[in-house]
């Protein structure tokens, strides 16, 4: 049996501050300058979830794996605008101007703040996760891929602890642009910055170390329909039963967020069912028993 021993979520909606402060979780404060919003979301949610699970570095290291899903790449407008301004010839992009000056306007740390594997780096470095990993791309479909990889690694006992992280920095001009052009579009005001983390363990391992079991994974399944990605546009939908749906479009973080809220606020046991049909024709479902 695979169980949840820690869960946490963090989110910023349209009226929330722009930034988060993860410093309390950083082993080396100098790494702060390398962090973008999705890194902040990942580190804060992982730090809180691991604390709830009662797991410190002595239990992690080589026996802990990291399974991370990130949102679309969120270059910040304020980072890109100076590059573009210095690269224009009239209203058109000029390669000559870009080469001779535009690219020098890019912040030297720009790459670090946007790469999709950086949340995994910051979580691994700050919580000393040295085990196997899976780092994947946007969408609830990939959340299930990460969940499958984590469960497989726990069941074959190559790890004792699986840290699953889902983050998306969506209050971002590129991401807003993406969601505004797909069919049907998602309004920018609906897009939240969201991160959530689950700590999974085999129930026997968790019990042996005296951990509180907060939820159990009862089952999961996935299905995929290969399709013409250019013509078969599909709205997709994502539902939760047993708990209220958190507000806003949370990207890949919805399932873990719902679990985090359920394990943190439930006085009685309940069954949580998550169903998703993604825009890219993945349908998946998981059932969880949240323990009292």
């Amino acid at each position: 049996m695979i169980c949840v021993t820690g869960a946490s979520s963090v989110a910023l909606g349209p009226h929330d501050p722009k930034t988060l402060e993860p410093t309390e979780f950083l082993r080396a404060k100098k790494t702060r300058k390398f962090m973008g919003t999705q890194d902040d979301l990942a580190v804060i949610s992982a730090g809180r979830a691991l604390a709830q699970a009662g797991l410190g570095a002595e239990r992690l290291a080589e026996r802990a794996g990291l399974f991370a899903v990130v949102g679309y790449i969120p270059f910040n407008r304020e980072d890109i605008d100076p590059v573009l301004t210095e690269s224009l010839e009239g209203e058109r992009f000029s390669m000559q101007r870009f080469s001779s000056g535009g690219f020098q306007q890019a912040h030297p740390l720009l790459t670090f703040r946007c790469l999709p594997n950086m949340p995994a780096f910051h979580v691994s470095a700050n919580f000393d996760l040295q085990g196997p990993y899976f780092v994947s791309y946007p969408g609830a479909g990939q959340v299930y891929a990460a969940l499958e990889e984590a469960v497989s690694s726990l069941n074959d006992e190559s790890i004792d602890v699986a840290v699953l992280v889902a983050v998306a920095h969506q209050r971002n001009f590129l991401v807003e642009h993406h969601f505004g052009r797909i069919t049907p579009p998602v309004a920018a005001a609906e897009l939240w910055d969201a991160g959530a983390c689950l700590v999974l363990e085999r129930a026997d391992f968790a019990r042996a170390r005296g951990a509180k079991l907060r939820a159990e994974l009862l089952g999961m399944q996935q299905h995929y329909e290969p399709h013409d990605a250019l013509t078969q546009e599909f709205a997709g939908n994502e539902t939760l039963s047993g708990v209220a749906r958190p507000p806003g479009e949370r990207g890949p973080a919805l399932l873990f967020t719902a679990l985090a809220e359920a394990v943190g606020g439930s006085a009685a046991a309940l069954e949580l069912v998550h169903r998703v049909q993604t825009r890219d024709h993945v349908s998946a479902q998981s059932r969880w028993r949240v323990l009292s």
Partner: protein, 411 residues
């Protein structure tokens, strides 16, 4: 759970020095570099103006080079897989290492100028930012892959991770066959400039073919490359039953996190060592069983000595007895595609009875003291080859391949 043997029954490749496995293999064994002056755009004022650029024009449903590369490599692999008159059947899936979303400065300028975004799906999906996951859907549709695709974005380790996770799905019985590989192109203004800003790339612009110098004393950074590698994995018994002749076998995979530095590897090579050791353990092999290594070999000042140290730590005295080739000396660094293309290189060379050279290795660095096969290919019989990939952010992956002769001899 009974573990299945995992056959590699087909391969496809698009690389800077050759499209298609026969052309690529020929280039590898002849030591023919694919590094040239960049012609995809005018890089005149950038510090680095060279790259491993694919010369072939490959059609793609979107103006994103890595999609065309992936589709071409997959077509080659499936054509080879079906050469025996049958196709792999059952639950098939895709495991793909994929690069960053394509970000267009032209489109950004158009948006700033107030121009309306285009209305057709094709144009809309390539305007500003082309989601990289589209590539997976094109591949899955083209080849009827019915399992949810796995997308890997573990930077320079993504290609090897894609092979490894696909391998585990077939071995554990979660899939009957998997198309596994990686595709990438960062030879665009932002990609080239971004790496140049980090001082990560070679500026040996006057001699492109001599610029990628893994393990060499005068190395000055990596050379960016582009391309795709695809391999078809099937259950061994199923492959034989349908009349396919395996090209080899994937027998082990391990990955690890450095949990150390954002751009520098662990000083004691902890993560790299762990990944290789886990791959060996996963394969049930001893270090002395490995006949050769296909190194990550980026030619960056920091990486090459640490990779050498990791090989010493894992292989002990056997380290100096193995030939070690760096494919990046010939094609540059293909980032998310690197591990997959290098697996194609390793297996095709193994089956040809050679190790390919590490070109441009005139004087090895004093910290790099292994046999890196300088300049010329070498005849070398190999049963098992380990191929490794180490990514920015401390992602480390290694796979172990068994060559055709050894795999078939095992029954």
């Amino acid at each position: 759970m009974k573990r299945q043997r995992v056959a590699i029954t087909a391969m496809g490749v698009v690389a800077p020095n050759g499209c298609g496995v026969p052309e690529f293999l020929d280039a590898l064994l002849r030591g023919r570099s694919g590094i040239r002056q960049v012609t995809l755009f005018d890089p005149a004022a950038l510090p680095t103006r060279i790259a491993g650029q694919v010369q072939a024009l490959l059609p793609a449903p979107l103006p994103d080079r890595k999609i065309g590369f992936a589709l071409a490599a997959a077509r080659e692999a499936f054509a080879q897989a079906q050469a025996c008159g049958t196709a792999p059947s059952g639950r098939g899936g895709l495991s793909l290492g994929v690069g960053l979303e394509l970000f267009s400065m032209d489109d950004l300028a158009a948006q700033r100028a107030g121009q309306s975004p285009p209305s057709s799906p094709v144009e809309r999906l390539s305007f500003m930012q082309t989601p990289s996951d589209l590539c997976a859907h094109f591949l899955s549709e083209a080849h009827g892959l019915m399992l949810p695709p796995l997308l890997h974005v573990s930077a320079c380790a993504a290609g090897s991770d894609a092979l490894g996770s696909g391998f585990r799905r077939v071995r554990d019985g979660r899939a009957d066959f998997m198309l596994v590989g990686g595709t990438d192109s960062m030879i665009n203004p932002l990609g080239m400039a971004g790496f140049a800003a980090l001082n990560a790339t070679s500026t040996r612009n006057a001699e492109p073919e001599r610029a990628s110098r893994p393990f060499e004393r005068s190395r000055d950074g990596f050379v960016l490359g582009e391309g795709a590698g695809m391999l078809l994995l099937e259950r061994w018994e199923a492959a034989l039953a349908r009349g396919a002749t395996p090209l080899g076998e994937l027998v082990g995979y391990g990955n690890s996190l450095d949990a150390h530095g954002i751009s520098e590897p662990h000083p004691e090579a902890r993560g790299a060592s762990q990944a290789m050791a886990r791959a060996l353990a996963d394969a049930g092999l001893l270090p002395t069983d490995i006949s050769a290594i296909n190194a990550h070999g980026t030619a960056t000042p920091k990486n090459d000595p640490i990779e050498t140290l990791a090989i010493h730590r894992v292989f002990g005295q056997h380290a100096k007895k193995m030939p070690i080739s760096a494919t990046k000396s010939l094609i540059g660094h293909l980032i998310s595609a690197a591990g997959a293309v290098e697996a194609v290189a390793a297996l095709s060379c193994m089956n040809a009875g050679f190790v390919h050279p590490t070109i441009n290795l005139d004087q090895p660095d004093s910290t790099c003291d292994l046999d890196y096969v300088p300049h010329h290919a070498r005849r070398h019989r190999q049963a098992y080859v380990l191929s490794s990939s180490y990514g920015f952010g401390g992602h480390n992956a290694a796979i172990v391949l068994r060559g055709q002769e050894a795999a078939l001899a095992a029954g």
